[in-house]
């Protein structure tokens, strides 16, 4: 999870989330399916908050908690954030 190699593209954000959740759950990255709903991983609210805050730092733009309930899989969230990032909406200075 090094910041240097990170790209805020859909794939970059998706890989980051997979690795982050794998780490939280002590599971192999391969087991974290990007098309599985977040709640199926058994994430509690504290884990979800950690992920949102660390993801914000990683991509440099705000991640509203409401997004987790609109884009309920890693793939959907990553796609949304990558699109928002491209448009420059709320992008970091």
């Amino acid at each position: 999870m090094t910041t240097e190699s990170f790209q805020p593209t859909k794939d970059g954000i998706q890989a980051w989330c997979q690795s982050y959740i794998a780490n939280l759950l002590n599971a192999p990255v391969a087991k974290i399916d990007p098309n599985t709903d977040f709640d199926k991983f058994g994430l509690d609210s504290a884990m979800a908050v950690s992920m949102v805050l660390d993801l914000e730092e990683q991509i440099g733009t705000e991640v509203s908690p409401s997004l987790l309930f609109e884009y309920t899989t890693i793939a959907e969230l990553a796609e949304h954030l990558a699109t928002v990032g491209e448009k420059g909406v709320g992008a970091a200075a």
Partner: protein, 313 residues
């Protein structure tokens, strides 16, 4: 009085009904800092939002108007607010022409300084716990308490002890209220989560010496004292309020860090996100209750005036 009530009282427990230390821990980190997060409405409780383009300020005013209606301020001369924050509602109530006196209770020294500096007409500020507040029976026509109930009980106390505190609070309010009066309450409550699963972060970092009720705790505590005219669970209002405060904090983050330091700002960012997610998941609820005191007299309970007080938006 039961043994538990005798053992659990302001005399035996200085933190009974609300711990002053816990209040100072959360609220006295600086009025400037709170103002920066809360914006011009200067209100630290869930607003009532309407539509996607609503502003926090308009939504906060709508929330206060709802409680004013719920507590029937329009016909009140004497009003009590338990937990009056930075005085936004006290000001609105004091502007009502028929209101003659408003008493605001707080435990926060920083809020007291701000409230006194407002010099509101007809308003008396008391830095005092409700558990030691003294008022003659029937003193108030309306009682409002918004976002204070969360501090009445303590997570380290037993559920039985907390039930005594809740019952005591409503008993006192019942006694202080004019039989034809009304009460409006707003509090966070446990929703689908178990009391024992409350996170250490919330219990130690944010609200030490505090605890949340379940809706059932409130219903039990008002039984025979108040009739419930309305209950709303507006949990999404609180999620959105947290999101708005988070945005305010982020927009002026540098100023916030200069005021309270990086660590404190991070703590609040995390707190607002946890709250927002918790409300969206339904783990916690935001309850608003309209209550009327119960009396045995037919000439109170069945009168047209009482019936009129039963109407709510």
């Amino acid at each position: 009085m039961t043994t538990l009530q005798a053992e659990h009282s302001p005399k035996t427990d200085p933190k009974y009904g609300g711990s002053k230390e816990a209040i100072l821990h959360h609220y006295d980190i600086g009025n400037e800092y709170w103002r920066l997060m809360l914006g011009p409405a200067y209100a630290y409780s869930a607003a009532i939002f309407e539509g996607p383009n609503d502003t926090l300020e308009a939504a906060q005013e709508r929330k206060f108007r709802w409680h004013m209606k719920s507590a029937h301020i329009e016909r009140a001369e004497s009003v009590l607010e338990v937990g009056c924050g930075w005085g936004t509602l006290l000001r609105m109530i004091s502007e009502e022409p028929q209101v003659k006196k408003v008493v605001g209770l707080t435990l926060s020294d920083a809020q007291t300084v701000h409230l006194k500096s407002m010099n509101l007409p007809k308003v008396e500020i008391r830095t005092e716990n409700w558990a030691v507040h003294e008022a003659a029976p029937g003193t108030y026509d309306s009682i409002i308490s918004i976002g204070a109930f969360e501090h009445f009980a303590k997570h380290q106390d037993s559920e039985e002890q907390n039930a005594v505190v809740y019952r005591d609070f409503f008993s006192r309010c019942h006694r202080w209220l004019n039989p034809n009066g009304a009460m409006s309450l707003q509090t966070i409550a446990f929703g689908t989560m178990d009391r024992k699963d409350a996170s250490e972060f919330m219990k130690t970092e944010i609200y030490p010496d505090s605890d949340l009720p379940y809706l059932a705790d409130i219903i039990k505590a008002v039984d025979g004292l108040f009739e419930v005219v309305a209950v709303r669970n507006d949990r999404f209002d609180y999620a959105r309020s947290y999101d708005e405060w988070f945005k305010n904090l982020r927009a002026r983050r540098d100023e916030a860090v200069a005021l309270v330091g990086e660590e404190e700002v991070r703590r609040f960012e995390r707190f607002f996100k946890i709250g927002s997610i918790g409300f969206r998941m339904g783990k916690i609820w935001l309850l608003r209750l309209a209550l009327r005191p119960i009396h045995n007299d037919w000439n109170v309970m069945g009168t047209p005036s009482y019936a009129e007080g039963h109407r709510l938006a």
